[in-house]
């Protein structure tokens, strides 16, 4: 994965600690007004999050988090999710031939 430079650096942080720190190719976040997809090269952005499931794809694995009362910031392919609640849910594998992020 690290051979491909076109990845996002992601950190998910809550008062209880750092929930995730690593790389991801795609993120789907529950923005306050609907789902939001982020890929490499996204413009700098700050967006309010609603309550819901945040998914990120890193290689073949899929990570899921339940987030609430937070927001997301993208700056130069660095994605920071700050949320009062960020709880890891059971992850899984990305089904072959299918995009995790739509």
């Amino acid at each position: 994965m690290s051979s491909d430079p076109r990845v996002l650096r992601v950190s998910i942080i809550s008062p209880a600690g750092i929930g995730y720190e690593g790389e991801a190719e795609a993120i789907v976040a529950p923005a306050y007004d609907g789902q939001l997809g982020i890929l490499y090269g996204h413009a700098p952005m700050m967006v309010l999050l609603g309550e819901g499931e945040l998914r990120l794809r890193a290689g073949r694995s899929l990570h899921r988090f339940h987030v609430a009362r937070g927001f997301l910031q993208v700056v130069e392919n660095e994605v920071t999710v700050l949320a009062e609640e960020a709880r890891a849910l059971e992850g899984g594998e990305v089904p072959s031939g299918q995009e995790a992020a739509h």
Binding site: A16, I18, Y32, M45, M46, V47, T80
Partner: protein
């Protein structure tokens, strides 16, 4: 003579007390470790939150955000004092109560009315005994405070601030600088003050929704987080104080046991010597 037996009874009672203080010391040590971890884990969130606010705040937004309002003069303030529910931790709670009372005294001199909100059974009992009126009391915060606890404490006073009912909010708690240094501090959390030189909002950001709306959501998170940090730092400081207090108690018990054991040996020896002397005296009387 029953003296030796008296001493022995005292030694027994000190040893059983020592067993308790030693256990409490060990419990506090393990709780301290977890509490310290919580303090450290809370740090990245606080740092990032501060950064984001500095990015969002623009001078023209200050007027739009009631939470950023800077009152010209303070007529009424709220003090939130955080102490522990349990004692046996040395001067920990006394120091916090003293810091709060200094703040109250100063406010009285400046003719500022104060709402006193108290967290922790120790300070609640203190102020109740003294007949000091408290705006709210909480004794249900555990050793492991959550963001939810912080929200339930901070939100009502933040609402009062926004409504203009209070003009400043202070938190009095134990700052956890290190295990050995946990001074009581009084920190102003409202109004939020962002130094102008730290403001670095850029027009190159996509903001969704507007900066104003995001701020109105982020600022409460920021203030609640200040409350959360105060709770976890005080909880860690409490365990540290308890560990020190219990370690001193255990050491004192050891010293006492040593001294009493020496005393006991001397008393026992004296008894034996006396008994021998009596036997010798008796047998000498029989010889003639």
């Amino acid at each position: 003579m029953a003296k030796a037996r008296d001493i022995q009874r005292r030694i027994g009672s000190i040893k059983s007390t020592r067993k308790i203080t030693r256990t409490m010391e060990m419990v506090a040590t393990s709780k301290l470790r977890r509490a310290t971890q919580r303090v450290e884990q809370a740090r990245p969130y606080a740092v990032k939150l501060q950064e984001v606010i500095e990015r969002l705040v623009a001078p023209d937004l200050v007027e739009l955000q009631p939470i950023l309002r800077q009152p010209e003069r303070i007529a009424r303030s709220a003090v939130v004092l955080i102490t522990s529910n349990r004692g046996l931790c040395g001067a920990f709670n006394t120091n916090l109560i003293r810091a709060a009372r200094e703040l109250l005294d100063r406010a009285e001199r400046d003719r500022i009315e104060v709402d006193l909100h108290v967290v922790g059974r120790k300070a609640v009992n203190f102020f109740r005994f003294r007949g000091v009126e408290m705006a709210s009391t909480r004794t249900d915060i555990s050793d492991a405070p959550t963001a939810e606890d912080a929200r339930s404490i901070i939100e009502p006073v933040a609402r009062q601030f926004v409504a203009g009912e209070v003009d400043a909010v202070y938190l009095v708690y134990s700052e956890f600088r290190s295990i050995m240094r946990t001074p009581p501090v009084a920190r102003q959390v409202l109004p939020v003050f962002v130094p102008e030189e730290r403001v670095r909002s850029g027009p190159w950001y996509i903001l969704d929704p507007s900066a104003d709306e995001i701020l109105s959501r982020v600022l409460p998170l920021y203030i609640i987080n200040a409350g959360y940090r105060a709770l976890v730092e005080t909880a860690a400081a409490e365990q540290g104080a308890r560990r020190t207090a219990m370690k001193n108690a255990t050491d004192n018990a050891d010293d006492l046991t040593n001294n009493l054991t020496r005393l006991y040996n001397r008393a026992r020896q004296a008894e034996i010597t006396q008994q021998i002397a009596e036997i010798m005296g008796g047998s000498e009387a029989l010889v003639d």
